[in-house]
């Protein structure tokens, strides 16, 4: 099944601009971006991003074992946003940037920490797709937990519909 994550050029720029800002104590920033799904041929899915949410500085908690950790306030906000997005089946995606160029993916810590959020999002927004998006400076990758799926589907690509077009493929065959 083909899975592609799509965003506009202005959304992409907004995410990069926000996540590039230094934080008073965290080594990196995290954001939330919302998305809805569209159907492709042969059961494929598009995830189309709708809006970005910047996490306020004070909602981070100090933890030197990770680049950034967000606290209960940020997670409560996210759960409420998923709840309010239920009528539109709008899901939530954890997004952050790895500061390098080229293909990227989840680090060991990412893999250990971020997927833990998904069951909570799925319990509130059962009919929406949720997930993780990781961007590098010029590439990106994503994982999508579709409704009632316990395991994520790795996106075949992330597309930025702006100028120039960004088509970040992760090497999974079409």
């Amino acid at each position: 099944m083909t899975v592609e994550i799509r965003m506009t050029g202005s959304q992409y720029d907004q995410i990069h601009r926000d996540l590039a800002r230094p934080h008073p104590f965290a080594a990196e920033r995290i954001g939330f971006v919302f998305g809805r799904t569209g159907s492709l041929a042969n059961g494929g899915k598009l995830v189309l991003l709708t809006r970005y949410h910047s996490i306020p500085d004070e909602q981070y908690v100090e933890d030197e074992t990770v680049g950034a950790r967000i606290g209960g306030d940020a997670l409560t906000w996210a759960m409420q946003a998923v709840y309010h997005g239920r009528p539109a089946r709008e899901g939530i995606f954890h997004v952050h940037v790895h500061p390098h160029k080229g293909k990227t993916g989840m680090s060991l810590i990412d893999r250990h920490e971020i997927p833990k959020l998904m069951p909570g999002f799925q319990s509130v927004g059962r009919e929406a797709a949720h997930g993780i998006i990781i961007l590098s400076r010029d590439h990106g990758a994503g994982w999508v937990w579709f409704p009632s799926c316990k395991e994520p589907a790795a996106a075949h690509g992330v597309s930025v519909i702006g100028k120039p077009l960004g088509i970040f493929e992760v090497g999974v065959g079409r």
Binding site: R36, A41, T50
Partner: protein
Amino acid sequence: MSKDRFSRQSFLGPDSEARIARCTVGVVGLGGGGSHIVQQLAHIGFQRFVIYDGDVVEDSNLNRLVGATSVDVAAEFTKLYVAKRMIFGLQPHAWVRGFAGRWQDNPEPLRECQIVFGCVDSYQGRHELEVSCRRYMMHYIDIGMDVHGENPPVIGGQVILSSPGGLCMRCMGFLTDEKMTEEAKRYGKAGARPQVVWANGVLASTAVGLAVDLVTGWTGRPLPNVYLSYDGNKGTVKESATLRHLNLAACPHYSEGDVGDPVPVEL
């Protein structure tokens, strides 16, 4: 692919060949305008196509249908077949999904595209394509030509870029309720509009140029709102006066949240 193949277009950027090859383009309507577009895209190096046209090549098409021959008329080949032949002749390893019918009957494959070219006759057809492109986040490039009046006849046409987040064809004054209502009174038929190969060629070339800039960013210009008007009598393509005088910062017709499959509303 040989290194020489794209050496004359290397100014598009060091990674332009790969960017072009990764992009999936849709062409809806493979007649006078669409046949030019498909040909140019294949020459440039596009590899992934989703194309639609349900028509068979007729004798009256041969004044403008690029790639078609008298043999195609006799053999009753489809315009889709002619387009595929063109693509594979230039790009033997291209990935082509072709449909000899309306895109509305097979809408999902079109959504795989990042850029869609609309080469359709009716305003309603343009509207439906634009709605789908907004909903599934694709750049939409519309082309069309017409001939008005007599003594002398006036050839006019347009190339419009409608991008997610940008101004739409309604904002630009090209699509109006009046035009669509008028068309609907004629049972949705746009009629057999006059078409000539050179005007179609100008419009198609302009549209393809826009697409190449979108894909490669070679001009370095930010994403523009584009509404270009073609005056076939003077041989000019200029920014539409409507767009120049438009005082709109954002599109009021499509919001960022109106994307994806429609969701049933609970009453």
